[in-house]
């Protein structure tokens, strides 16, 4: 089959699904209740593109294929097409998006069962896949941007999915607006590139981009990176992501963990030749990534809402990926994007399964009048392993993966990031040492907070009211099947990127695939290599950190459960307190930017517009009316006074004629 045709199918199927599940039931309400039909169509339009992408992947020969569909806009120098690029990077991303996406669609059939908005949910999810595919497949920046904003829209619609609660809608607005702040920078970067190069096609940008002046390159890369901090939730624009957990859990798994939030990393990897030409900005990227990783990890330890823990964990892991990009290891960032999609997707779906179960408990408890409980609060969970064995097992596997226990997927990708940072530092880039140090610290924290999350949820005693009588049940197969698939991938997914110590990196498939001879992803050149023994030492260090972190946290929380949080609180005092209050970043934004805009508009500009701008207009009108009223008095109607006026006039004219 023609790749050209396949790409069109891959893109159009999810779009068709969105129309079928969204527009048709909107006008034909009878269809809205047909969960079987909507769910299977919705899942199929993602699963089929996965199969097609797999075919493209297997038959890919190394040379990028560009499929041009039609001209989007042409004017002056501008010549934009809906053109899509099939290469190693976009294929890998397409597989992740449609693969993980397909599983999450399947999972949603069970999770969203009996929700009145079932049809809308699948429509938004399909639309999201369509947008995300535009993002990863687009052959020019505006098509990428179409996807970039499109996924933002779907994120908005899905965060605010349960719109009857205004809190959710507020979180949705926040996500969209913060993303738009990033998009603003993205737009400027495109304008600048267009001014310099006269084109926004990747072929031109990637070949001629590095030849631009240094300051232009720096601006372009910085603006794109700033755009990425919006979509990929980095400092300073990360605060929308934890709020985004207001959406249904499959959304958190798909959009806010596995795919959309990794767009920024994709962007940097795609633009790697240009990014590598801006070493100063790379420093910024690495430092921002490292700090985000650390800050989010410290917050994650203090959270009790299971989804919030995972949300901050996502922010932290994304920080890792930016760290990797900042030291020029873009392919490693994409490697971590992939393993993270597996284990974080699995963790989120697992948490969804837990919430699904706890909903049942909440219902029962409320039914018996024994009070309310929050189905997402880990403080009222515990001991769930008895009731939800599959959820527990897959959650455990992915916890071990994210913690970086040797041979699990996260171990390989995370270790590779740390190694690359170390190596870049070893090569003489001091900032990379700094990033490496923070990375190590964050790795310990990650092992601890994830173990805490697992233990508080699944181990120990049941802590919800009426624990003896009511308990949750395991979820249906549509939900547990995706858990198993992702759980297994979390275990084995890392073997595609075996570290350099093994056969000199010959077996590092993902490196060859993305950054090999024909690969689209470049990497920073390293002149001084780390000795083999030291490499092994670093691997040992990484493994040790993970094992110790998990081991300690296991002991602490298995033994003391919630009581250990209190110990932490007293041990770290203000610091813990501060972290648990999210460092007041949101409060700061609210008090500054939000206030400036809202109050500035309501109390500054709107009254200014009414009183000053319009005041002048009305003033002129009043003045005219006043002058007219004054002049009207001259029209007395008394003939004598007119005669006097005429005489004066004549005298005046004669005087002028005589003396003028």
């Amino acid at each position: 089959m023609e790749p050209d045709f396949l790409v069109r199918l891959i893109l159009l199927l999810p779009l068709a699904g969105a129309v079928f599940n969204g527009i048709v039931p909107l006008f034909v309400p009878a269809l809205r209740r047909r969960e079987g039909l909507i769910g299977s169509v919705g899942t199929a339009v993602v699963a089929i593109p996965f199969v097609l992408a797999l075919y493209l992947f297997l038959s890919f020969e190394g040379e990028p294929i560009v499929a041009t569909v039609y001209t989007w806009m042409a004017s002056g120098e501008l010549d934009l097409s809906f053109a899509y690029r099939i290469d190693q990077l976009s294929l890998l991303m397409t597989l992740i998006v449609t693969g993980v996406g397909g599983l999450i669609h399947l999972y949603s059939i069970g999770y969203m069962h009996e929700d009145p908005g079932f049809w809308r949910f699948f429509a938004y999810l399909n639309l999201f896949i369509f947008a995300m595919l535009n993002l990863v497949l687009g052959n020019n920046l505006p098509v990428l941007f179409l996807g970039w904003e499109g996924v933002g829209l779907c994120s908005y619609l899905l965060i605010g999915f349960w719109y009857t609660d205004l809190k959710n809608s507020a979180a949705a607005n926040k996500a969209f607006i913060m993303n738009r702040v990033g998009d603003f920078a993205f737009l400027l970067a495109m304008f600048l590139l267009f001014k310099e190069l006269g084109s926004l096609d990747f072929d031109v940008v990637l070949t001629e981009g590095p030849a631009m002046s240094q300051s232009t390159i720096n601006w372009v890369v910085f603006l794109f990176f700033f755009g990425a901090t919006g979509k990929s939730a980095q400092i300073p624009l990360y605060t929308w992501l934890p709020d985004a957990m207001a959406g249904p859990t499959p959304v958190s798994a798909l959009i806010h963990a596995a795919t959309m939030v990794t767009s920024g990393l994709y962007l940097l990897a795609r633009l790697s030749p240009v990014v590598l030409s801006a070493p100063a900005v790379m420093t910024v990227i690495a430092v921002v990534g490292a700090l985000t990783a650390l800050v989010a990890a410290t917050i994650a330890i203090t959270q009790n809402d299971i989804k919030k823990v995972l949300a901050y964990s996502t922010v932290s892991q994304l920080g890792y990926m930016f760290l990797a990009s900042g030291v020029g290891a873009f392919y490693v960032a994409i490697f971590h994007v992939m393993t993270h999609a597996f284990f974080k997707g699995c963790l989120f779906l697992g948490s969804g399964s837990v919430i699904h179960g706890m909903h049942h408990v909440e219902h029962e408890v409320a039914h018996h009048g024994k009070g309310a409980l929050d189905p997402q609060d880990m403080r009222t969970m515990g001991g769930l392993k008895k009731y939800m064995p599959t959820t527990r097992m897959t959650f455990l596997l992915s916890t071990l993966a994210i913690a970086g226990i040797p041979l699990f997927s996260g171990f390989f990708s995370k270790d590779e990031i740390l190694f690359k940072a170390f190596e870049y530092g070893y090569d003489g880039h001091v900032y990379a040492w700094f990033a490496w140090g923070i990375g190590i610290l964050t790795a310990i924290l990650t092992a601890v907070y994830m173990t805490r999350c697992y233990v508080l949820t699944f181990e120990g005693k049941e802590r919800w009211p009426m624990a003896g009588e009511v308990h949750p049940h395991e979820s249906p197969w549509t939900m547990t099947l995706p858990l198993w698939v992702l759980g297994v991938l979390s275990v084995v997914g890392g073997f595609v990127g075996l570290p350099a110590v093994i056969a000199h990196g010959e077996l590092n498939w993902i490196h060859h695939w993305l950054a090999g001879e024909h690969g689209p992803v470049l990497e920073a050149e390293v002149h001084t290599h780390v000795p083999l023994a030291l490499e092994w030492g670093l691997i040992a260090l990484g493994s040790l950190i993970a094992l110790v972190g998990v081991g300690l946290a296991w002991q602490w929380y298995r033994q003391h459960a919630l009581a250990f949080d209190a110990r932490l609180r007293s041990a770290f005092g203000k610091l813990y307190q501060w972290a648990s209050e999210l460092y007041h970043v949101d409060d700061f934004y609210r008090a500054t930017f939000v206030r400036a805009v809202v109050e500035g508009a309501e109390e500054g500009l709107a009254p200014f517009d009414r009183r000053v701008v319009d005041g002048i207009v009305n003033g002129v009108a009043k003045l005219t009316a006043g002058v007219s009223r004054g002049l009207r008095l001259l029209q007395t109607g008394i003939v004598q006074s007119y005669a006097v006026a005429i005489v004066f006039g004549v005298v005046l004219i004669i005087a002028l004629m005589l003396f003028g």
Partner: protein, 540 residues
Amino acid sequence: MGLTSIVIFLPLLGAALTLALRSARAIRWTALVTTTVTFVVSLGLWMGFDPSATTAQFVDRSAAWFPAGFDVKYFVGVDGLSLLLVLLTTLLGPIVVLSSWTYISKHLKAYYVLLLILQTGVTGVFTSYDVFLFYIFFEVTLIPMYFIIGIWGGENRIYAAVKFVLYTMVGSLLLLVAILYLGYQAGDAVNAGVFTTDWYKLLEYNIPVAEQTWLFFLFALAFAIKVPLFPLHTWLPDAHVQAPTGGSVILAGVLLKMGTYGLVRFCLPFFPNAAQEYAMLFAVLAVIGIVYGALVSRAQPDAKKLVAYSSVSHLGFVVLGIFAFTVESMQGALIQMINHGLSTGALFLIVGMLYERRHTRLMADYGGLARVTPVLAFFMIFSVLASAGLPGLNGFVGEFMILLGSFKSAVIGSPALIAVATTGVIFAAVYLLWMIYRVFWGAITREENRTMKDLNFREVALLVPLVVLMAVLGLAPNPFLQVSEPMTRFLLESMEAKRAAVLLEAERVDMAAAAFDGARFEVLQDHSSGETAEGKEVSE
């Protein structure tokens, strides 16, 4: 009579026919049929249009109207600048009639007659190739709009109607002065001494730099008020809020475009030197308008006023694109005029539908409507996304091209200014999502909203064409861009040529003057060799 004239005057014919009718039903249907037929006929312009030509097509031209000595005539046609605006006008015709179907209940006949006359006026504005004729149509549109606001408007309608007319009139009377002056000057220069207002002849006439400046400002003022450009915008929110839905749709959809169209058609080509010299002034005002309009929009409790202020913001983009003098930005501005007509038109229609149901425009009186009126919510959110410039919908295409073109513009040449303009995309999301948040999300807080009816067939039918076009113009704008590209290039090139010619002329005059001065000085020196003091005095 050619196609252009038919499209202009069919509505007037319909108006005459309507005058003779008595039953409400007959009046509505006549108006609907007239506007629909006009639209269908206007499609003939689209089909027969040759985009590669840069001259007027479907031309209708009469002999001169006035006695000898005045070259003023009926001269209409379409070209790449006007075709889409004409089609937008004819498209909105039946939509406005349908939207008024139940909304207008008093003085039906007068309303539809005025609506039809208004359409003739607007179409005439967009098709005139004689500046005097343009002026007549420009003024013709005022009268029906005055009555539409003044009779069928809200509580404060008289104030709004008078303000609308007076404000516009201030600009247009000065415009008339400028046209007359220009007519005589051009007549002397290029028309054998015969007063002329023929667009092509005026285009040929290279106006000296000094005169360009004040003529430019007189023209630009009239159009800037119409656009409206900050700070001349305050008539707009009043007019919009008070006007009935149909009036608002026409006002936002096409009447404002008469301003931006006037800038492109007359101001820039006639006075290219002045236009470039003061481009920065207009760009700055446009950018202020973009941000200012958006922020003031955010502060409005009234949904209709919010949409009205959004026009100030959106048209700021258009003016910016016009004064950037690049093909990309100019074409972006042209397509953005259409986009704004579609999406803001749709927003006014939907706000009107809400008003018809609950008789309030305050957002606080709504809340949680998504549950009871999902179809209405869908159309509103769709239009909001188009208006906010979401890629894939029409608004993005215009804004993107305008900003992209302005960023590289040598005339504006200020990345910082364009960066400020680009913040408009953030603020657009802020105020538009705020409206959605207030009106559609949350729980239903008012009992009377619980039983609100969703859109009926008529309402869906009038919104569907707009929504479809938003998607078409967003995903496949190129056929529409192709209509205006040759004309835009032609215009920019001829402006540049004219500008250079005027500058050259000025230089020549300067040099001649200098040479003359020099010669005179020598003569004087010779003459007054004995009386040095006097010679010195004179030469100084």
